[in-house]
């Protein structure tokens, strides 16, 4: 039976502060994660994501504030919290010298399942994560995606109420990332509450019900992915014409309000409210006027734009991954 939680929240973080020397890593962090949802904490390197997870998983003591996980205080009832959580840290938290089954069986025993049950549970999890045929192979020889899946399996030994995933796909290739995403999706619906940190906007977009953008150790914005995107502006329709001399005609034919033109890219763009209706109209009007378009798309603002607009001046820290992800999303149009 799940424990009584606070107003349906599996995780409640209130005004948490943490400093290392003079550096304030967390500065009044607030989070509320509803039971059974996936909540992403999104932010650049150095935003305090890992510190927050370490506090929520009893590994680190906060300087100020209060944290309840599964209804228990992480400082005063660390044991109760540990019985109810699973943690997938940034570094593979498995023994790389041992095999997959050896790892899971060991963790099962340490969860006090007893030797026989620990062995059975190890076999169940290996099968569930597609690792049943790894035999005695040492985890150190696994691919990145396999290791992550084993790590995830190790986090799920006792079917935790709350699962923490700290940058679960950092350092994985696209295939490994897809494997981990698939595994996380399969968990949701089983009622597990998932808190996920990531510096990949796409990951938050793909997996999370709600997103908290954090910067400088506090929440800069919170909402659903769509809600956050709406805060920086509406959808836009973008039309790329084949012949740049037809740009002026195109503007006239379509008659969209608030239109902007980029001659170099042969691009015309305008804000829209009715996404599909506008798309259909534009296609019809262009073909009636005999104007050839190379690309027509309705584009939603990306989380990058949300992030950049909220953190003014862009990502702090090295921000590399955000830049990467930015490039990755450019081509995505809806």
């Amino acid at each position: 039976m799940p424990d009584a939680d606070v107003n349906g929240n599996s995780i409640l973080v209130e005004d948490v502060g943490k400093r290392y020397g003079a550096k304030r890593v967390l500065d009044g962090l607030d989070l509320a994660v509803r039971r059974g949802t996936v909540h992403a904490v999104l932010g650049p390197n150095g935003a305090g994501k890992t510190t927050a997870v370490r506090i929520m998983t009893t590994l680190l003591r906060p300087d100020a504030g209060r944290v309840l996980v599964a209804g228990h205080d992480v400082q005063r009832e660390a044991g109760e919290v540990r019985r109810r959580i699973g943690l997938l840290g940034q570094h593979a938290a498995v023994d790389e010298e041992l095999g997959g089954r050896q790892n899971l069986e060991m963790f099962g025993r340490l969860h006090h399942l007893g030797a026989r049950r620990a062995g059975e549970r190890a076999d169940e999890l290996l099968a569930r994560f597609g690792l049943a045929d790894t035999g005695r192979k040492a985890v150190g020889k696994y691919s990145g995606g396999m290791r992550r899946r084993l790590d995830l399996a190790a986090s799920l030994i006792t079917d935790p109420e709350v699962l923490f995933l700290d940058e679960p796909t950092t350092g994985l290739d696209p295939r490994g990332r897809a494997e981990v995403w698939g595994a996380v999706r399969s968990l949701v619906g089983g009622g597990t509450t998932v808190l996920l940190t990531t510096q990949y906007l796409e990951e938050a977009d793909q997996l999370a019900d709600r997103i908290s953008l954090i910067d400088g150790g506090r929440v800069a914005a919170e909402g659903t992915a769509d809600g956050l995107k709406a805060t920086v502006g509406s959808d836009r329709i973008e039309v790329v014409v084949r012949d740049p001399s037809q740009l002026a005609d195109t503007v006239r034919v379509l008659g969209l309000p608030g239109v902007t033109v980029d001659r170099d890219r042969r691009l015309l763009s305008a804000p829209v409210t009715d996404r599909m209706g506008v798309l259909v109209d534009v296609v019809r009007e262009l073909s009636a006027a005999g104007i050839e378009a190379e690309d027509i798309a309705v584009r939603r603002p990306t989380l990058d734009e949300v992030f950049l607009s909220l953190t003014e001046g862009g990502p702090v820290g090295d921000g590399e991954s955000l830049a990467e992800s930015d490039r990755g999303e450019r081509g995505v149009a809806v």
Binding site: K18, Y20, R54, T57, T58, L59, L60, R61, G79, R82, R83, I85, L87, G89, Q90, H91, A92, A93, V94, D95, E96, E97, L98, Q102, M106, F107, R109, L110, H111, H112, A138, A154
Partner: protein, 259 residues
């Protein structure tokens, strides 16, 4: 199960983990055992001679080499603990409902077992080299003193590993272990050294253990200083003091939430 029951169960699980590492790295284990044997052979047949030693050098050398091997065990302990701490697996242990201090118990049992096996191998090689120790209760008492010394080095090693934190710093300690190890009477009699150096050497815990073991095995220990004459007291006292100091420090540091 009771709280004590879980301590035992978790300690056993953690010890099994270390034994499983051995099973997977037999070459590493063998190399670890062969290295002190090599040193023993080098000093016994090549460099040896033992300035100021009365009686057969092998009777002087083997106890010294055994004590030195126990001291060098500190490196292995440090390395293993540092690697664990840097791999994130300890984070998983600490976020689980297990008795978290048993991670250290597993380390302790495994390292003591390895050192005990190392002692047996070295004693065997010493025997083959013509060394004949006195038998009986004295023999076992000497083995006990060596393991006690290793137990002290174990907790010093665990604590240093947690203080150092990073593998690079462990390398520095690995280098420092050599002069500290050789600043002892493992290979030569302090009386043969310059006066101030001899004094330092005599108060080295390693020297106390080596001297006490030599006496128990009936080899002329040599030396007439207070430290040499009370080697038995020091061979028990030093490790007890070191364990009393470093065990609580190490356990406290491990149990404390980081940060």
């Amino acid at each position: 199960m009771s709280a004590v029951g879980w301590v035992v169960a978790d300690s056993w699980t953690m010890t099994r983990r270390e034994l499983a590492h051995w099973a997977r790295q037999p070459v590493q284990v063998v190399v670890g055992l062969v290295f002190p044997v090599m040193l023993l052979l080098v000093f016994g047949y090549l460099i040896g001679g033992g300035r100021g030693v009365s009686g057969p050098y092998v009777d002087f050398l083997v106890p010294g080499m055994l004590a030195l091997t126990m001291a060098f065990g500190l490196e292995g302990t440090m390395l293993a603990v540092t690697q664990d701490l840097n791999k994130g697996v300890v984070d998983r242990f600490r976020s689980m409902p297990m008795v978290s201090g048993t991670v250290l118990v597993g380390r302790a049992v495994a390292d003591m077992l390895q050192s005990a096996v190392g002692l047996v191998v070295l004693i065997g090689v010493g025997y083959a080299m013509g060394w004949r120790p006195g038998g009986g209760a004295g023999f076992l008492a000497a083995v006990g003193l060596l393991l006690l010394f290793r137990f002290a080095m174990l907790w010093v090693g665990i604590h240093l590993a947690m203080v150092a934190g990073r593998p690079e710093l462990v390398q520095a300690v690995q280098i420092l272990v050599w002069p500290v190890g050789f600043l002892s009477n493992a290979f030569a009699v302090p009386a043969s050294m310059p006066g101030w150096l001899g004094a330092v050497v005599e108060w080295n815990p390693l020297s106390a253990t080596a001297t006490a073991v030599r006496e128990l095995w009936g080899a002329g220990a040599g030396g007439s200083s207070w430290a040499a004459e009370h080697a038995g007291v020091l061979a028990v006292g030093w490790p007890v003091v070191l364990v009393g100091l470093f065990l609580p420090l190490a356990v406290g540091r491990f149990g404390r939430l980081r940060g």
